[in-house]
Structure formats: C-alpha cells, structure tokens
C-alpha cells in the first residue's frame, strides 16, 4: 500500500517535471535560433566543468536553508513566507556581529552565525506575534516585512556601514575570524555541511519528537489539535520563530562564506525559491536536501544557458512556478490513488 502511494508520488514528480521542461522547451523554440543547444546546456550545464559543478553545489546552500525554513512553517499550515526578508535581515545581523564582535577565532564566527539566526527570528517575530495575538493574516504581514526589511537594511548599510574605499556599494570587509571557510580551489561553501546537518536535525524534530508531532497535527487539523489539549497558538508562534532563525542563518552563511561583506543591493530571491524547494519536498525536511539540489541544478543550468546563448535565465522561474502548481494539484492522479486504496481494502477481506 505504502509502496503504491510512493510510486504514485514519484509518478507525479516525473509528470510535473516533464510538463515543466516541455513548456520550457516550447519557450526556447520561440526565443532562440538554436533551441536544442540551449536546452541541452540547460539540462547538462552544471556537469560540464568542475567549476560549474561547484557553482551548483554552492547555489544549493541558501536554497536548502530557505526551503527548510519554509517547510517548517508549511508543516503547521502557517503561510509565513517572509523567508526573503528574514534572510536579508539575518545577513544584516551577521554583518553587525562580524564587524563589532571581538576577533577571537571560532567564537567570532559562531557569534556571527548566531547573530544572523537571531536577527532572522526577530524579523519572523512580527508576523508570528501579530498572528497569534490578534489573528492578523501572517501571509500579508510577512510579505510586507520583506519590503520593509529590504528598505531598512539598505538604508542602514548604505548610510552607516558603507566601505567608501570599495568601488561598489558594499559594507566594510569582515575580519578573517568571522569567515566561514571555503574548500578546494573552486571555493565550495562549507555551509553546505551545516545545511545538510540542519535538515536532518529538523527532520528528526518533525518526525521523531512530540513537538514535531504536534506541529504536524496542527497542520492537518488545527481544531483537533486544540481539542486534544495542544497549545496550538504557542506552537504556531514558535515554529515561525524557528523558521525565521533558519532563514536568517541562510543569510549569515552566504555572507560569511561567499562574500565576506554585505553585498546585496536588491533582494537575492532565495526566500521565494525556498517555496518551491519546500513544496517539492512535500514539506519533509529530509527531502529538502535533494529538492534543493534539484532546484539549484535547474538554476545554474539556466544561468549557464543564459551566459552562452543569450536567453534570459528567468525562464527557470516560470518552470518553477508551473511545478508548484502541478505538484500541489491534489486531484491530479487522484483516481489512481483511490483505485490503489480500494484494491488494498479488497485484499484485506
């Protein structure tokens, strides 16, 4: 029974990706003279050179973290999709700690990363508090917080932390003790290990602890949770705080490993990509790992295609949104699912 459902889930995934890629190909037909070459680059690009392969791995790190953050809140059916703003504010927090904390090796880096998680959860606190205290829609408020985060951080960084000797609008460089190391000459972000470890930990939290069980129950049926004595409001509040910490940490890791300054002048978009990562993983933290790798692969494939053929890589966002629609289409393949369940029931008699 479980096996049949698993096969169906997999079939759904294959159909979804198939349809999305087909539509992507149709778009390429209209926008370039060499659609086949472009498509081939898109699909195999990240594997063609070592540098590109590491680029793909590095891209998966923030996606894994934001996907993880969103899968936590989605588990509780809370639509706090402010991961983008939380990541941005978390990155700002990392910058504050990196520039101001005494330069003690290890401790400095750890405090910087904790700082980013702290700032991320501060940003998640607002929608979480408004939701649990006054029932204000966390969806709208978290989206507004994304814009506020963007303008506020940009204002603070550009006015108070700007390195005027640098050529571009960036903050002062972080001291070396706040650097997260990069491995090999291709600069593999060691945050990848943190992201994978955190995904596994969160998976255990969701599927192996009482608190995780409560989160899942609330996601399926909030009233049932309430009537069976769970403190639903408190759980919904804390899961958002936790999610904010993970999203903030994503910003901290990205800055301390890849840039070593605050470099963003626009929202990097990882928070929104995290939505598809979480949905593709069916909100399962364990599955967030392969899901983030998959999306990062498509992302980098599209970038490589864009660099070589002049097709805008934004096409991949279109494919992602189509995949979101198809994956969450509950009624798709529903007939087969019903049949499988009925068949199983007959067997039992």
């Amino acid at each position: 029974m479980k096996k049949t459902l698993l096969v169906l889930e997999f079939t759904r995934f294959v159909i979804t990706v198939g349809i999305a890629l087909l539509i992507g190909y149709i778009f390429l037909l209209f926008s370039t003279d060499k659609p086949y070459e472009a498509f081939k680059l898109f699909l195999t690009g990240p594997l063609t050179t070592q540098r590109r392969f590491f680029e793909f791995l590095n891209n998966s790190v923030p996606l894994m973290m934001t996907g993880l953050a969103l899968s936590l809140v989605f588990q509780a059916k809370v639509f706090n999709i402010g991961a983008e703003g939380q990541l941005f504010f978390g990155a700002f927090g990392a910058m504050l700690f990196a520039l101001n904390f005494p330069q003690v090796s290890w401790l400095h880096l750890i405090m910087t990363l904790i700082g980013s998680a702290l700032f991320g959860s501060i940003w998640a606190f607002v929608p979480a508090f408004l939701r649990t205290k006054w029932k204000a829609s966390e969806l709208v408020s978290s989206l507004m917080m994304n814009y506020i985060s963007y303008f506020l951080v940009l204002f603070l960084v550009n006015n108070y932390f700007r390195d005027k000797s640098a050529g571009a609008l960036v903050s002062y460089r972080f001291p070396q003790t706040a650097w997260l190391s990069v491995i090999t000459k291709y600069r593999l972000n060691s945050g990848l290990f943190i992201a994978v470890l955190l995904s596994i930990l969160m998976g255990l939290l969701i599927y192996r602890t009482k608190w995780g069980y409560q989160i899942r129950v609330i996601g399926v049926n909030k009233k049932f949770g309430l009537y069976s004595g769970m403190r639903t409001m408190s759980i919904m509040f804390w899961v958002q705080i936790l999610s904010g910490a993970v999203a903030g940490l994503a910003g901290g890791i990205e800055l301390t490993a890849m840039y070593r300054r605050f470099v963003w002048q626009s929202l990097p978009g990882y928070g929104f990509d995290g939505i598809i990562v979480a949905i593709l993983a069916r909100n399962n933290p364990f599955l967030v790992i392969p899901s983030a790798l998959f999306i990062a692969y498509l992302r980098i494939g599209a970038n490589i295609m864009g660099r070589t053929t002049g097709v805008a890589p934004e096409i991949v966002i279109v494919l992602q949104s189509l995949m979101i629609l198809l994956i969450t289409a509950e009624a798709l393949l529903e007939k087969f699912k019903q049949k499988a369940i009925a068949k199983e029931a007959m067997k039992g008699e």
Binding site: F27, F30, S31, F79, I81, V126, L130, W134, K135, A136, S137, L139, V140, S141, L143, M144, M145, Y147, I148, F151, L152, L154, F155, N158, N159, F272, I275, I276, I279, V311, A312, E314, I315, V316, I317, V318, Q320, S321, L322, I324, L325, T328, A329, E330, A331, L332, E334
Partner: protein, 304 residues
C-alpha cells in the same frame, strides 16, 4: 505642511491610489465567495507587461489595455482551474502565479527588447487624460478631480458598479452566500464552483485594469516587478473595508495618501528608503487594526 494644502498633492493622491483602487475591487470580488485571490499582484504585473507591449506594436493604447486585461483573465482562469478542478491550495496557487508573472515578464521583456530592466526602448502609448468640462472650472477641487487618466475615472466608476453588483443584484447575493455558507448555497441550488470561478474571473478583470494603469498611465513604460507589492497592499486595504466597495475605496485612498506623502517627504531630504517603507508599514498597522476590531466584535457576539 503647506504641501498638504496644495491641490497638486491631492491630485497625486488620487493618481497613486488608482492601481490600489482596482486591486481592492479585485480582492473584494474574489473574497466575497471565500476564494481570496493572492495572485492579484501577478495578474497586475502580467497586464502591465502585455499592455505596454501590445500597445506599442498595435500603436494603440486601447488595444494594449484589452490585451493586458485578457492576459490577466488568462491567469485567473489558470488559478481557478487549478484551485477548483485540480484542488491546488488557493494560497500556494496564488503565490505560484505571482512567481510565474515575475519570471515570464522578465524573460519575454528580454526576448523582445533585449533589456531586462524596462521597456523604455519601445515607443510608448498611454491611455489619454480626460478633462471634466464643468468640474475643471471649480477652484481647488477642479485641480484635484479633473485631468486624470481615463482609467482613474473608470476605477472610480467601478467602485459604484461593484458595490451595486455585490449588494443589490441576485448574482452578488448568490456570490456572497457562497462565501458565507457554501452548504446553504448548495441547498438552494447555487453552484458553488461556478460562483467561485466567476468571482476569480471578475477579480482578474479588475486586477488587469490596475496593472494596465501602472504601465500606461502612472508611467509610460514597463519595468520589472513594477507592481512592487501593490497587489498585497490591495488585499490588506480590502480587508479594512470588509464587504463594502465604498469602504474599500477609502482604504485604497489611505494607502494613496501614504505613498504620496512619502514622495512629498523625500523633497524634505528624508531618505527615500525610509519614505518607501511607509505604505508597507501602514499595511501592517491596518491589518492589525482590522484583525483587532474583528476579534472585539466576535467576543461581543459571544457575550450576548
């Protein structure tokens, strides 16, 4: 302070309120059947894009407007089909549409103009401005009310049309009954799915007008992600007005004042990052006020 007594300020309030006004009506028409349209942002963006592009190729802004609204309707049909037929979650479906629009418009913009930022290289066509004959002559008020884009007047007219549709017509009553109690609606022979479908389509039409205004009235070009949260702001403004299009319009005006005040404050050397934040902060404040008033009326009912 004198800036706020200037008719030019209030003229700009009406101007910047227009897209939000359309958005509020779009949010209202979708939420009365209980299917809140999160995709308004994306529908506006899509319409803004196709509006400019088609207007530029057809050399006619009205054909552009038509194309823009049509593209928004197509998105509404996609959302309705996925939500009602394939049971995609409404919120996630809406978020997906917003992403779709954001990606597709940049992709196509680059394919058509070779520029990822804006459509400035294309010849632009805008919906004309209209002077109202008698009102124009009135001092002060005339300067505020006359000389707006034709779409602004369509927006104001739409407020009354939508209000009438929702409050007085059988169709509006049916739609509301679906939103308030679907089981009761079914029991008197109303097709819930048909009403929800219709309300999403109507929502798409109004969002389309709002988007077309942005690129063919507010400014005369398309820029990537130019809706900048107006769809979500509209949803919050509509929540403020409840089921009333008239109160919703006041909500839109409130956001218009915040945005126009932000622009005015910038001339007083207040950093643009801070003034740009105003409408978004206001949205959250409004959301809280609305939610609190709802809780209070709830507890009052329970006390009785």
């Amino acid at each position: 302070m004198s800036d706020f007594l200037n008719p030019a300020f209030w003229y700009s309030v009406i101007r910047v309120s227009t897209p939000i006004l359309f958005g509020v009506l779009a949010a209202l028409l979708s939420s009365i059947t209980g299917t809140i349209n999160i995709g308004i942002e994306g529908m506006m963006l899509m319409s803004a894009f196709w509006g400019t592009i088609v207007a530029s190729f057809a050399q006619n802004p009205w054909i552009g407007l038509l194309a823009g609204v049509a593209s928004s309707i197509i998105l509404a049909v996609i959302l309705a089909y996925f939500h009602l037929k394939l049971k995609t979650d409404l919120v996630i479906g809406g978020v997906a549409l917003n992403l779709l629009s954001s990606g597709l418009t940049v992709f196509l913009l680059y394919a058509i103009t070779g520029d990822k930022g804006s459509s400035a290289s294309l010849r632009s066509f805008t919906i004309p401005r209209v002077d109202i004959p008698l009102v124009k002559e009135i001092p002060f008020v005339g300067k505020i009310l006359s000389g707006h884009n034709a779409l602004t007047y369509i927006a104001i007219l739409s407020v009354f049309v939508v209000n009438y549709l929702v409050k007085k017509t059988p169709l509006g009553i049916r739609m509301r009954s679906v939103g308030e109690n679907p089981d009761a609606a079914v029991s008197v022979g109303i097709s819930v799915n048909r009403m929800k479908f219709l309300s999403l389509i109507l929502s798409g039409i109004l969002a389309g007008f709002g988007g077309a205004f942005l690129s063919m009235g507010y400014v005369s070009w398309f820029a990537r992600d130019m809706t900048a949260g107006r769809g979500f702001i509209s949803i919050a403004a509509q929540a403020l007005g409840g089921n009333s299009a008239l109160f919703g319009a006041f909500g839109a005006l409130l956001f218009g004042i915040a945005e126009a005040a932000g622009i005015t404050l910038q001339s007083l050397r207040i950093p643009s990052e801070i003034t740009n934040m105003l409408p978004f902060v206001l949205t959250i404040v409004v959301l809280v006020i609305y939610a609190r008033s709802k809780i209070r009326s709830h507890s009052r009912i329970q006390e009785q």
